[in-house]
């Protein structure tokens, strides 16, 4: 390991309460410095530097998909093949890429230039297909684009191709500054009234700020919809330990690409939201845990944080008022489960992202065993408005019990997939209309990201998008990732791809999720291949019913509920794939 890398790791280690916590970041640093993979020697060195057993280092490295224990080509081509990508033609593109490169998935070209991987959701559902080359995204990919990209790469040129996704806003809050030139700079943010909410918050007591957030009715935008102010209220009153605020930016739920819209184009909104929230809960330090694939967005955040710190908006004397709060950005390394708050905390501590047993809940014992509040990007970004304009103004947006704006990410079979901000309670039809309308005949919609049960076209006709109505319709608003499917889509294929995703992402810790996801995958695979039996379908439903509610973290629910809905609502399509009686004898 080079001395500068070693020095950087030691510097990193010093920024955590325990050097061990720097493990994941250290591994990412080493991999980047050493040509894309982690050698045996570097793992041993990291182990020695941080005082972590080699077994733990190895276990952690092998957990995350972005960490490579084997060498990869100079350009690691990673194509998102999850459902939104599938709906946008990623399967054909993959075939094209294999042909153009002359290698299959998981292989490296003989010249060592290219490794091809098919990966899970990259958080670019509105701009699919998306190809990640090392740490750069190329969105809206087509076979022709790929050929051009390949020609560039072969000549050692990594082109700068910026993709501007579709977007629209009715609320002008979360996406208000989208489209403004240089929207990430502090000056523009301040010119647009930014950091006034923080000014105001610091004139109030932390309890008053918390009360405002409680009164606003702001519900967690990560998917669960739990009231944010109530969550803050779970912090122990008498603890002497430091309190941490963690911003969950591990946007990985297939169909979801909303948080990146805020972080990439209006990073100071999140930062101000965190500063206010940190003040309210008594935290001096906040972490943004961002999925590792969003490397350039993490860079944007880091620059914005540095700028804010420079301007005294963060640091040990915020706005000159003697209040301390700072933010650090930590990058994940490829693990869906780390979006679950306790797994996220484990990952932030540098470990495998295995969810923790609850209780204790993070508010009582979270990061480094200290009281911790984990909130989603969109949740925290709503806080400045609430403080500036008042809880009542926020409640005016949306419906009763479902206050405020929400960004909906629309992907799949619509004319203009993209991110659209509407008040909660907006009719689904209105959102689809904003996205240019359905292409073809609508067959089904998943409204809250892949973990929510699918709705048939019939079912969702009058649906309005808020937490309570979605629940009433037997689904969930979740993260607001809307995947639209027309009648060219075969639901069994979607179901198989869904369970493949969850089987791939299961942390493997608890029995029902680890064993059950694969059992379902095996059975659906048989069915889709035309080798299934009616018992397979019954067994899939039996497994889904039994797994639901009985896993260590919500991941078991995240696949058992949607699969149950797909098989239940479209059983005919599955049965049509079963061999006819006696058919196997004829083969």
């Amino acid at each position: 390991m080079k001395p500068d890398v070693r020095a950087r790791i030691l510097d990193l280690a010093a920024t955590y309460p325990t050097p061990k916590a720097a493990l994941l970041t250290a591994l990412e640093t080493v991999q980047q410095a050493e040509g894309g993979h982690l050698s045996t020697d570097s793992l041993s060195e990291v182990a020695a530097l941080l005082g972590v057993p080699l077994g733990t280092v190895y276990a952690t490295a092998s957990y995350y998909t972005m960490l490579n224990l084997k060498p990869v080509g100079k350009y690691h081509l990673q194509l998102d093949t999850n459902i939104p990508a599938m709906l946008a033609g990623a399967e054909d593109l993959l075939a094209h890429m294999e042909q153009a490169l002359g290698i299959g998935v998981g292989e490296t070209t003989s010249d060592g230039l290219f490794t091809l991987s098919a990966v899970e959701d990259l958080g670019a559902c509105g701009t699919c297909p998306v190809l990640q080359v090392n740490d750069r995204y190329y969105e809206n990919m087509t076979p022709a684009c790929f050929d051009e990209l390949l020609a560039n790469l072969k000549q050692g040129v990594v082109p700068e191709w910026k993709t501007e996704g579709n977007w629209g806003t009715e609320c002008n809050m979360l996406l208000a500054r989208r489209g403004k030139p240089n929207s990430t700079a502090l000056a523009g943010y301040v010119a647009d009234g930014g950091y006034q909410a923080l000014e105001k918050a610091l004139t109030l007591s932390p309890a008053e700020v918390t009360q405002m957030v409680k009164d606003s009715g702001l519900r967690g935008r990560g998917g669960a919809g739990f009231p944010a102010g109530v969550k803050w209220g779970f912090l122990p009153k008498d603890s002497t330990k430091p309190v941490y605020l963690v911003c969950n930016a591990d946007e990985g739920e297939p169909g979801t690409f909303k948080d990146r819209q805020i972080m990439e184009f209006d990073p100071h909104l999140v930062i101000e939201g965190m500063a206010i929230s940190g003040y309210a809960i008594g935290a001096k330090l906040g972490y943004i845990y961002i999925r590792g694939e969003f490397a350039w967005i993490a860079d944007i955040l880091e620059r914005a944080i540095a700028e804010a710190r420079e301007a005294g908006k963060l640091g040990n004397n915020m706005l000159g008022r003697g209040v301390e709060f700072d933010i650090r950005v930590t990058r994940g390394a490829g693990a869906y489960v780390c979006g679950e708050e306790t797994a996220l905390i484990e990952s932030l501590e540098g470990k495998r992202g295995n969810p923790r047993l609850r209780p204790p809940y993070p508010a009582v014992s979270g990061l480094f065993g200290c009281p911790t509040i984990v909130n989603n990007v969109e949740t925290l970004s709503s806080v400045p408005f609430i403080v500036r304009e008042g809880a009542e103004a926020f409640r005016q947006i949306g419906t009763a019990n479902n206050a405020g704006p929400k960004i909906f990410g629309v992907s799949g079979h619509v004319k203009n997939p993209g991110a659209y901000e509407f008040p909660l309670g907006v009719p689904l039809a209105k959102v689809l209309e904003a996205a240019g309308g359905v292409v073809g005949n609508l067959k089904a919609v998943i409204v809250g990201g892949l973990s929510t049960p699918i709705l048939t076209a019939e079912e969702c006709r009058d649906l309005t998008l808020d937490y309570d109505t979605c629940a009433k319709y037997g689904t969930g608003l979740g993260s607001g990732g809307i995947m639209v499917m027309n009648d060219t889509v075969q639901i069994p294929a979607i179901a198989l791809r869904t369970i493949q995703f969850y089987a791939h992402e299961s942390c493997g810790q608890c029995t029902p999720c680890r064993q059950g996801s694969v059992a379902i995958e095996q059975m659906l695979h048989r069915v889709v291949e035309g080798k299934g039996t009616p018992e397979d379908l019954d067994n899939v439903l039996h497994l889904c019913k039994t797994i639901k509610g009985n896993t260590l973290c919500p991941t078991g629910d995240a696949f058992s509920m949607p699969i149950e809905a797909m098989v239940g609502k479209f059983r005919g399509e599955f049965e049509a794939l079963l061999p006819k009686a006696g058919a196997d004898l004829a083969v």
Binding site: T40, P53, G55, T56, A59, C507, G508
Partner: protein, 902 residues
């Protein structure tokens, strides 16, 4: 003495399956249910580990709760109503078993775990033959490259107990989960052999595995769990006193396990305990007495002949008076055996020349702890160590010497407690310590002076305690003639570290001291122990949980050997020979007169007395003097020169070669008795096998020798002897085999109502006040010089014990580490132009040996280390026999040597 008053424990009452259960607050629902006999199935739960909640087998329903909860992690709540066997729960349990069987090999007929496999048990109980949705086993390669541990990852159910016990309980971390999801496999990093990844071969991972994924390789296909007879007994190696379950089948020991529910070890064992017992099965065992014939050769004989010869030889030797006979006892022997041996010496042979290897660790306790505090023993309990906020470990490589006790220190570390290690070597604990003071060998006394002075100077002494409970403060203070800076300079440590160690120790709410052979085997060991007692007294760290001066004894029954009076100057119960009333009381209880009331000789003095012609007969039980003692030439010539030598042992040891009669003894699994461990806990050992051949239990041999000399003893069992011990030693008066049945009791235990004493001095000191003693420090006599440029220190390795008489016959141990080796820093190895593995010649002023050299990171430049166990290169031979003037312990920790390629 009464036990510590229990602190008020809050209780919780809940209802489980309509049964009201009251448990201490903090108990889990699982523990609460099991405490009243309600069984909840578990796979990932292990009482030694934190809850994991992953197998989902222990789910229960809680009234008012939304989803089932894992009972292993769920804390019992007041008025909680729990149902463990609802239709839903039973269905879920069956489902989890179905899921696990969907890829578990169904090879029970040849699986080592069959009959002792939780998955098999539950599949049977819940009637799951195979998963309804198919069976797709993994096809992982199996691994067989560790001498004791075999692995079949296909059978693994990913409960993670092996990962967690190695990482959390052992503090090592050989195992890890690799990959994730269904592809998760438990593996070593890069699939390396276990021994290449810091494995200490403890087999804790095997003990944690609920299925057949990790097996004890040596007992594969030996016997099913249900075929074996199981005997709970106490380990016979070190002084921790781990409880173990010995499984025997067809006259042989098959395997060793440890029950989770009881014993100081709570289910943990070290490599020796788990894999070190098959010396019992060795073909090298002595199975008949050997008598030296007129041709000078040792030949098998019957007991009658052998005993007659012993009686004749000893009678002849003592013709000139009892003082002409010496008796050497063993820490391997039980209290009963040691008691009888000293009784033989004092009342039949008429000599006070009785001593044992226990001296090495215990003499300092007798010379310091007893006069300063009251009792010559560890003040607190093993379970106390993790209650300390600060632990000061001096001269104890605990993870190697007392591996299972060290787990308490590892636990304390895991809980964020402060550990201070004083050791010239960077031991495993030193590596993890908050402060490591790498003291120059032999300068501990100076270092402690500096710490004491700093505590006094900074006003951190506990003045109230000192005033109320101690005397000698002024004398102590006036002896503190080294400033912290000067002390640090002598000891070769940073003054700042010395000061912060002193401050941390003095300021802790509860601070404990642990010391062991690294102190007591120094030339000035007793002086160091005095300073440690001063530290504790000066700061009031005594008589409470988590405090104390914890002297770790050496062999399994080192404490007991001393308690029983196998000492030249003390009778049973530490009654000094010049204490007339004490002697009378002992004589009355023994029913015999103590013939020799002058102090006898230590082991080394006896050997010297042989050379001087004063001792003519030696009776050596279980000690291997020719390897363990310094000044080898003198030892060998004494053994050769003594007129009559009886050796009683399990094997034909190096010492037995010189004997006139060799008496075959029984191993720990072939006899009954009691051991007293380091925390004063008296525990049972129990016979599981018949004696091998003509071998006899040591107590029986000693009885028979006494009777051959005309004593007329009528003890019919070890228990008979124990009953007499209770009459002789007041601290043992409350014990009986019946009372010791469960997990033993700690002395003092004065009556059958007394529950024993976990913490000494909780209610004050026996002499009213404790004594602060002045601290002496003298420069070590051994220093590196031009001719002998290296300092050599010695110590213990976890794989072996003593001189290896037993451990080097145990195939589970012999394959793990090499033989006689000297550890040297890479820099010194390079400087001498040596290579790792070279045979070298090590020469001191007193002797020379030829071990291999290995590069190691525990020693700084200029210091080398050798383990003490190896007859082919006994480190003891490098020492000149200098002994601590106070304790008579031969110095074995520091000698200057020259090293060259052999």
């Amino acid at each position: 003495m009464a036990p510590l008053p229990e602190t008020e424990v809050k209780t919780i009452t809940l209802t489980i399956d309509d049964q009201e259960v009251t448990v201490p607050a903090g108990t889990t629902v699982l523990e609460a249910a099991r405490s009243v006999g309600i069984d909840i199935p578990t796979l990932c739960h292990d009482p030694r580990l934190e809850p994991f909640g992953a197998c989902r087998l222990c789910l229960v329903e809680v009234e008012g709760g939304r989803a089932p909860m894992p009972s292993c992690a769920l804390k019992a709540g007041e008025a909680m109503v729990v149902k463990t066997r609802t239709e839903r729960i039973m269905r879920l349990r069956k489902f989890v078993i179905e899921l696990l069987l969907s890829n578990h090999p169904l090879d029970c007929p040849v699986c080592e775990a069959a009959g002792d496999c939780r998955l098999q048990d539950y599949a049977y109980e819940y009637g799951v033959a195979v998963s309804p949705w198919g069976w797709t086993p993994h096809e992982y390669p199996t691994r067989d490259d560790h001498p004791n541990i075999a692995r079949d990852p296909n059978r693994c159910i990913l409960c993670g107990r092996c990962v967690r016990i190695c990482r959390d309980v052992m503090g090592i971390g050989c195992w890890g989960f690799r990959s994730r999801g269904y592809d998760t496999i438990i593996d070593t990093p890069y699939n390396m052999p276990l021994q290449a990844v810091d494995c200490v071969s403890c087999g804790q991972c095997v003990s944690a595995c609920p299925v057949g994924a990790l097996n004890m390789k040596r007992s594969r296909f030996a016997a099913r769990n249900w075929q074996t007879e199981k005997t709970i007994t106490t380990c016979g190696y070190c002084a921790v006193g781990c409880e173990m379950e010995v499984q025997t089948f067809r006259g042989k020991v098959v395997r060793v396990k440890a029950p989770f529910s009881q014993g100081v070890n709570e289910g943990n064992l070290c490599v020796k305990g788990r894999f070190g017992i098959d010396y019992v099965n060795s073909d090298e065992r002595l199975t008949a007495p050997l008598v030296r014939g007129e041709d000078g050769l040792l030949k098998p004989a019957d007991w009658e002949t052998a005993l007659a010869r012993v009686a004749e030889g000893l009678k002849k030797a003592k013709a000139g008076g009892g003082k002409a006979v010496g008796v050497i006892a063993s820490t391997r022997c039980t209290n009963e055996e040691n008691y009888l041996l000293q009784k033989l010496a004092r009342t039949v042979l008429g000599t006070a020349n009785i001593d044992s290897g226990a001296r090495l660790n215990q003499a300092a306790a007798l010379a310091t702890l007893r006069p300063m505090l009251g009792y010559p023993a560890m003040t607190n309990s093993i379970a106390d160590l993790d209650k300390a906020d600060v632990l000061l470990v001096v001269g104890s490589n605990t993870t190697e010497e007392h591996p299972v006790l060290a787990l308490r220190i590892v636990k304390a570390l895991r809980e964020g407690k402060t550990l201070i290690v004083v050791d010239p070597r960077c031991t495993a604990l030193a590596k993890r310590a908050s402060i490591h003071l790498p003291v120059k060998p032999g300068t501990d006394g100076a270092l402690l002076k500096g710490m004491l002075r700093h505590i006094v100077d900074t006003g951190l002494a506990d003045k109230d305690f000192v005033a109320q409970s101690t005397e000698g403060y002024d004398e102590l203070v006036s002896s503190l003639d080294l400033t912290p800076e000067a002390a640090a300079g002598i000891a070769g440590v940073e003054a700042a570290d010395l000061k912060s160690a002193a401050e941390a120790y003095a300021q802790a709410a509860a601070a404990g001291i642990v010391y062991s052979a690294g102190v007591t085997q120094q030339a000035k060991g007793a002086a160091i122990v005095r300073a440690l007692v001063d530290l504790a007294l000066l700061t009031g760290n005594i008589g409470r949980l988590g405090t104390g001066v914890n002297s770790l004894s050496g062999g399994a029954n080192a404490q007991g050997a001393c308690d029983m009076g196998c000492l030249p100057d003390f009778l049973p119960g530490f009654r000094a020979l010049d204490d007339t009333d004490g002697v009378k009381a002992v004589e009355a209880a023994m029913g015999a007169k103590v013939a020799d009331k002058k102090s006898g000789k230590t082991v080394d003095e006896m050997l010297q007395a042989v050379a001087a012609g004063e001792i003519k007969g030696l009776y050596v039980v279980g000690e291997n003097l020719s390897t363990s003692q310094p000044d080898r030439d003198a030892v060998v010539s004494a053994l050769q020169g003594v007129e009559f030598l009886v050796v009683q042992d399990l094997f034909f040891s190096e010492t037995a070669r010189y004997a006139d009669v060799v008496l075959p003894a029984c191993t720990i699994v072939e006899r009954d008795g009691t051991f007293t461990n380091t925390e004063r806990r008296v525990q049972r050992i129990r016979g599981a096998l018949e004696p091998r051949g003509d071998a006899r239990p040591d107590w029986m041999i000693t009885r028979d020798v006494a009777n051959a000399l005309g004593a007329g003893w009528s003890y019919a069992s070890a228990e008979d002897v124990f009953a007499e011990i209770g009459k002789v030693i007041p601290e043992y008066a409350g014990f009986s085999y019946e009372r010791l049945e469960e997990q033993g009791l700690q002395w003092p235990c004065l009556s059958s109502e007394d529950a024993g004493t976990p913490v000494l001095y909780a209610e004050g000191f026996p002499g009213g006040k404790a004594v602060l003693a002045p601290v002496e420090y003298q420069e070590p006599s051994e220093t590196a010089s031009g001719e002998f440029p290296f300092l050599l220190t010695t110590g213990i390795e976890r794989e072996h014990f003593g001189t290896g008489v037993r451990t080097r016959q145990a195939t589970g141990l012999t394959g793990l580490v090499g033989g006689g080796r000297l550890e040297m820093s890479a820099a010194d190895v390079a400087k001498l132009g040596l290579a790792d593995g070279d045979t070298i010649k090590v020469t001191s002023r007193y002797g020379s040996i030829e071990p291999l050299v290995v590069v190691g990171d525990s020693v700084p430049e200029g210091l080398v280390f050798m383990p003490q166990h190896y007859a082919e290169a006994p480190a003891a031979w490098l020492f000149g026999g200098e002994a601590d003037a106070v304790t008579g312990v031969p110095a074995m920790k520091l000698v200057a040597v020259r090293i060259e390629k052999a």
